[in-house]
């Protein structure tokens, strides 16, 4: 009995080697860094992971589709800017506290629409999503600067930033939000028709078309989900700051994609999972947090992150090749 259990665990781990890595770094920092192994710090890690994590949830769907979205960092900034700015609008003052709800919805809508715009362009023009969203990454950042005129905005009341530091039971609200969203997307991906189609479209587009899936609209929906979660991440981040800055979210697309790929999603599409993505996100967050606590000088952090990134990729490739050779395992 225990053999079989063991076996299935080994098999699970070989499919998600990133979790093995997460456990290793967690144990390492627990011994190497004071203050690492504490409930409060685990909460910190979860909150710090929530920004990239939320973006990664939506982006995983887009990437399983075989597409990519490089504009998520810029979308994050635009959504946060809109939400923070709208709270101060005189014209909405009559709404009282409800202005917060309107502002949040507007921010999320912005993100969803911009994601949809990217998806629509990819669908209708047939231009590679990497190119479409590389353009959008520049363009949407430009919109943010036009909107803000290079200024930071901040929420007039601390109620907004208090949300960012509030807790539900023992866990920070943002961590709960992140975990809840992860569960929802996990179910969407593994238990629904849309989820099955996501894999089908990414795995073999011809076959998906033959199976009657309308590939274009399907991809647009996933881009919209991607945009929605980028916006949500922007709101989560801006509640931590009680503010938005025009430069926020820069380079996040690169770290998010890295986390997702470390989690086992292929850039060519067709495979990947939320469990893996979570592992990738946690791996990067734990590394950053642990190196902070160990006071690794920032110059070395860059080198360590770069080297570990490549090493994990190599390890993953090695493991996957072995499992491919031994399908009986």
């Amino acid at each position: 009995m225990s053999d079989i259990k063991n076996n299935s665990f080994v098999r699970w781990l070989s499919r998600n080697p990133i979790w093995g890595f997460v456990v290793i770094v967690f144990v390492f920092f627990s011994f190497a860094a004071d203050h690492f192994f504490a409930l409060q710090n685990v909460e910190n890690i979860l909150v710090q992971a929530s920004t990239i994590g939320l973006i990664a949830l939506g982006l995983t769907l887009v990437m399983i589709n075989g597409n990519i979205d490089l504009s998520v960092g810029a979308i994050l900034a635009l959504a946060a800017t809109v939400t923070v700015d709208m709270q101060g609008w005189e014209t909405l003052a009559f709404l009282g506290d409800w202005v917060l709800l309107v502002a949040v919805l507007a921010g999320l809508l912005c993100g969803t629409l911009l994601g949809g715009l990217n998806g629509l362009i990819v669908w209708k023009t047939g231009v590679d999503s990497f190119i479409v969203t590389l353009g959008a990454m520049l363009g949407i950042r430009g919109l943010v600067f036009v909107y803000t005129r290079e200024q930071s905005f901040y929420a007039s009341s601390f109620a907004y930033s208090d949300f960012g530091s509030s807790s539900i039971g023992p866990l920070p609200t943002l961590a709960v939000l992140f975990i809840a969203c992860a569960i929802v997307i996990h179910v969407l991906l593994s238990r629904t028709v849309h989820g099955r189609n996501t894999y089908a479209v990414g795995g073999n587009r011809e076959a998906a078309v033959n199976a009657g899936i309308r590939v274009g609209p399907h991809m647009v929906v996933n881009f919209m989900i991607g945009g929605f979660f980028a916006a949500l991440a922007g709101l989560a981040l801006s509640t931590q700051m009680g503010a938005s800055t025009p430069n926020m979210g820069r380079e996040y697309e690169l770290w998010t994609i890295t986390a997702i790929v470390l989690g086992g999603t292929k850039l060519t599409g067709g495979s990947g999972s939320i469990v893996g993505t979570l592992g990738g996100v946690l791996a990067i967050s734990i590394l950053r947090n642990g190196m902070n606590l160990m006071q690794v000088p920032s110059f070395y952090v860059l080198v360590v992150l770069g080297v570990i990134l490549i090493a994990v990729l190599a390890l993953d490739k090695h493991l996957n090749r072995r499992t491919a050779q031994e399908p009986a395992l």
Binding site: G126, L134, L138, G142
Partner: protein, 326 residues
């Protein structure tokens, strides 16, 4: 009727195939119309001088992309190379400094090449990792300090960024020189054919006896070499360097390559069109600045220009404006 239709199509096709050239001419005309300074000789020369840095690297990256891979590490590599050559200039003289700088970038390129070519790791992630690692190494090397060349007026190192060769500014000579070399390499040499084959269909390429790993490895060496050339221009132009001087260049370079119609899937692309891509980006930036727009206006314009240009390019290849995706 039939003939008219085909004629109509061929006009459209020419329009689409040379879309990038038309975009370029259009951009020049619009800016020329609104700013009397834009088409002035000294402005054009200034822009060409500036674009040399991006341009030379774009040639190398085009070759990598045609081989079916990406290179995002060029930004950090440029920082590393510029810092090295500037810092070593005063310590051991310009000649040895340049030599050591080229050794360093080629070593970095070789690491990229081994990981992507021989170990077959994903190029996006590998070069992203290198982007981070090389930036860190640069900072460790300088200990976070700026580096400067003390005596700027009498060093022959000035020729790369500030000098002329036969009356033409050196960055322009280097840009077009490297472009011509790259073009010849890709279109007239067996190596070029192999790069296209490797990027176009790796499996067939392997069956026809092409050693994929070696070809990819070499494309990364070429890309690293062009980064070294750009570092010469940048270092000599500024006569000093910050540690993050190359930050963001990877995206500029990639945008130029994409504007030139090189497919990210590999196997197709054209150096001469990359050159035009570089020029468009350079002149857009300069033109908007001359018209008094804030600098971020260029990002919005680039967004539209990239999508329209690539769309036209893609549409002409499949003979239909709209994609066949259902």
């Amino acid at each position: 009727m039939d003939k008219a239709a085909t004629d109509g199509w061929s006009v459209r096709q020419i329009l689409a195939q040379q879309g990038i050239l038309i975009a370029f001419v259009l951009a020049m005309l619009v800016f020329g119309l609104f700013s009397d300074r834009f088409l002035a000789f000294d402005n054009i020369m200034a822009v060409l001088r500036q674009t040399g840095i991006v341009g030379v690297m774009a040639i190398g990256v085009t070759i990598v992309v045609i081989g079916g891979n990406l290179d995002l590490s060029v930004g950090s590599m440029l920082s590393m190379a510029t810092v090295l050559v500037v810092d070593l200039h005063d310590r051991i003289g310009p000649g040895p400094a340049i030599l050591i700088m080229f050794c360093a970038v080629l070593a970095a390129g070789a690491i990229n090449g081994v990981l992507v070519g021989y170990l077959r790791l994903n190029s996006l992630i590998v070069t992203l990792g290198m982007l981070s690692a090389l930036q860190g190494i640069t900072l460790i090397y300088t200990d976070g300090k700026n580096v400067d060349i003390a005596n700027q007026s009498d060093t022959w190192f000035a020729i790369f960024g500030r000098g002329d060769i036969a009356g033409i500014p050196t960055p322009i000579v280097m840009f077009f020189g490297v472009a011509v070399l790259g073009h010849v390499l890709l279109t007239r040499m067996p190596f070029g054919r192999k790069v296209y084959a490797t990027g176009g269909n790796p499996r067939t390429a392997v069956y026809s006896g092409i050693r994929r790993g070696r070809i990819v490895f070499l494309t990364y060496l070429i890309s690293a070499f062009t980064v070294g050339c750009s570092a010469l221009i940048l270092g000599s132009r500024v006569m000093g360097s910050q540690n993050n001087v190359g930050q963001g260049y990877e995206l500029l370079v990639l945008s130029a390559v994409i504007l030139g119609g090189t497919s990210l899937l590999g196997g197709s692309g054209n150096i001469l069109k990359t050159v035009i891509g570089v020029l468009i980006l350079g002149f857009i930036q300069n033109g908007l600045l001359l018209l008094g727009f804030p600098y971020y206006a260029q990002w919005l314009v680039t967004w539209v220009v990239i999508i329209l240009t690539v769309w036209l390019d893609v549409a002409s290849k499949r003979h239909s404006l709209w994609s066949p995706i259902a």
